[in-house]
Symmetry: C2
Subunit: 493 residues, 2 copies
Amino acid sequence: MSSTAQLRALNIDNINPHVRSAQYAVRGELAIRSEEYRVKLQKTQPPTPPDESLPFDSVISANIGNPQQLDQKPITFFRQVASLVEYPPLLEKEDVLINHLGYKPDVIERARRLLAGVKSVGAYSQSHGAPIIRQSVARFIEERDGYPADFNNVYLSAGASSGVNTLMHIICASPETGVLVPIPQYPLYTATLSVLNARCVPYYLEENKHWGTDLASIRTAYEKAKSEGTEVRAIVVINPGNPTGASLSEADMRSLVDFAAQEKLVLLADEVYQTNVFVGAFHSFKKVLRDMQKANPGKYDNLELASLHSISKGMVGECGHRGGYFELVGFDKQVQEQIYKFISIQLCPPVVGQCMVDCMVNPPKPGEPSHELYKQEYDGIFNGLEKRATALYDAFKQMEGVHCENPQGAMYLFPTITLPKRAVEQAHKEGRSPDEFYCLRMLDATGVCVVPGSGFGQKEGTLHFRTTFLAPGTDWVSRITEFHKKFMNEFRD
Amino acid sequence: MSSTAQLRALNIDNINPHVRSAQYAVRGELAIRSEEYRVKLQKTQPPTPPDESLPFDSVISANIGNPQQLDQKPITFFRQVASLVEYPPLLEKEDVLINHLGYKPDVIERARRLLAGVKSVGAYSQSHGAPIIRQSVARFIEERDGYPADFNNVYLSAGASSGVNTLMHIICASPETGVLVPIPQYPLYTATLSVLNARCVPYYLEENKHWGTDLASIRTAYEKAKSEGTEVRAIVVINPGNPTGASLSEADMRSLVDFAAQEKLVLLADEVYQTNVFVGAFHSFKKVLRDMQKANPGKYDNLELASLHSISKGMVGECGHRGGYFELVGFDKQVQEQIYKFISIQLCPPVVGQCMVDCMVNPPKPGEPSHELYKQEYDGIFNGLEKRATALYDAFKQMEGVHCENPQGAMYLFPTITLPKRAVEQAHKEGRSPDEFYCLRMLDATGVCVVPGSGFGQKEGTLHFRTTFLAPGTDWVSRITEFHKKFMNEFRD
């Protein structure tokens, strides 16, 4: 504690202990250090000579799924629409837009429609989002799943993180409330549970089954928690997986629905990577649930499903706009009223982000003027991601002591690493977990920032790291392989 | 409870009780009913004949400070910059922008500068905001106050509400934590304390002293709370006031600083209405504190001040963009690290909103190409607000049993109403507080939606309502006066 801490109202020992205990490694020590390196490198741009103290000339932020920081270009249609809703007087110059600036009529039409619905992107909307955009989302869900969706059950949010925060606030009623969370997981879940002083009930994903779920181990975790007095109320499923990148099989999903219905658990489906699927097809939990309801009338009618989506991921990658939504299925009306009240305290999600949600769920269709460019950009991003994922995967296959599942989706690979005993000892000497030690060494040597597996949780005795495959080029992949070789040689037993 | 509630994981009786107990009247029952009326009126636009069941033809949302929903035009400079950062390829067509679309060179320059700093508005920024924009904020504070500001102590946020939420999360450590909150207050404070299961320690503002603070009554509230086992840690001050519209005198502010320093309380200064001042000048708490520190070396060095600002209010009115910031003064470094970690869980504030913050704190200067229009728009909004405030105030002066302080600032008037005994009895019969009863009657009769004083807190035995003075025209003011006349006649003893 600093020497003046006692003189103040707040110090590290008396602030909210639940905030203090929360961990969020994605933006933790490594990320902060990587930012320091970035600043150092920027400061030493010519005319000042390059900083000789750093053995690399650029920082690669592979720690966070932030596509547009890594040169992914925004989709033109989305941003043209955004420019018009931001400055509506442009709509009075249709000829200039079309003849001089290359805007297509469907861009102009979309902006007009959105402005008719929101009036101004500078005005607060309803707390769960503008009706016109919630209606677009409902239509998208209907088309995706082949089942009806009611826009009154759609809640727009400032990214999926904000939606998770809302739902967890409602669910967590006491320090005994527990939520089943997959391990490894995106640390938003554990951090939020920590802040809410509720219990994380971990269930492990099966690395040797392509990071799928295993119902027996979920049930064991559930029963153990119950026997310890935890009131388990919800189960989180991230599909496609973060950090694992894996897609769940329909069979796994059906087991999960069945389990949640049987044990009266809210099924919280984080489906933000639903378009980032390289292997097989994405199945939404809503569709799987509706199929099961159809086949078993009455049996699953009361299952509460919350499905989350986001504009930050997919080919959209509009993280900075903070947009997303969740759909509630089977929730009690009075509970939904409390959800509305809770979100109203923070007024509304950013309205331009809401407009981006509209573009995501209702992009230009075949035959419409902007479709060709949209498709070209979309496919280009998709193929680029797949290509880089494969390049990275191929590199991992060559690395000693590294094993990685083949890339299936999302934006991540999550290889296992087996480190020499001496490296593990050195890590412990420095008061770090071995994977953290490895990742810090990698950052210091290469400028590549990845996140240690311990930031997401991993089975006792295993080590991993998560890397995005967003960074352009392949230079940084070879930085990793060279570092790894040197690291292994340095600590070889 | 609905009949199926027991079949689900979540029902009204088992969700988070702290969320359930939170109250947020600004978007409560009245607001929801007014939205229903709005939908009803929209549905009955021609060719369908007007809905004869409603005695008004439009809904006036005077319940919430949402300028652009009520026809306040956005400031051109802000939105032109936003259009360019949304669609940067426009910057390659400088001649079209300037010659065909009326953009000025300083708009283009600002967009370029911002993009150089944030790279893409679709990329996550640092969790406390892009450095380039935090630096702008720091310079603005320096110029406003005449004292240095460090951009490392500036945290951009998704509106001031999000900043308050962050700070309250850090401050509230246990159910015994208490925060002094002015009554009447903006209900964000009580709602947030409720969700956090901490204690609101109310102190009353003095209506007969232009809603100023009274240190004796603050001290009484503080001592009473302490004697009841409350660990009071912070004091909220809203200046200019919401819902009162009042500006604090410098003497009041000095007393508050002195009191907070003496009792080791965080001073949480909600200064979002700092440019909405009609009477006198705005003084920031930062300046008052620095003046006092200069005059009394050492005495106030450890006071923790958090000052909040927003793009939603002032002449900017960009509520839907969700932008704001808070500056921390005198906070412990380790505590600031925890604040950073907490906000990083939600990744970052909307980046376009951050760009709007930049425009707000660094608007076109005299001599710059966009300045003339900016000043004209700014002054137009300011004068319009003052004019409407005065018109409303004049109307209130004529109304039986209504007393109102003269408009000083913010966006609100908060008149006292004295209702006939029979109206109070009728309200109680309907299970409502008398001011809520009055406001509901007003909405049903006129379509004008205001918020009952009970939504903000008021001294026992007094009744008020809060109205914004944002709605254009004066028709709605006469709707209120006519309604009031009829209401008083209906319930006259």
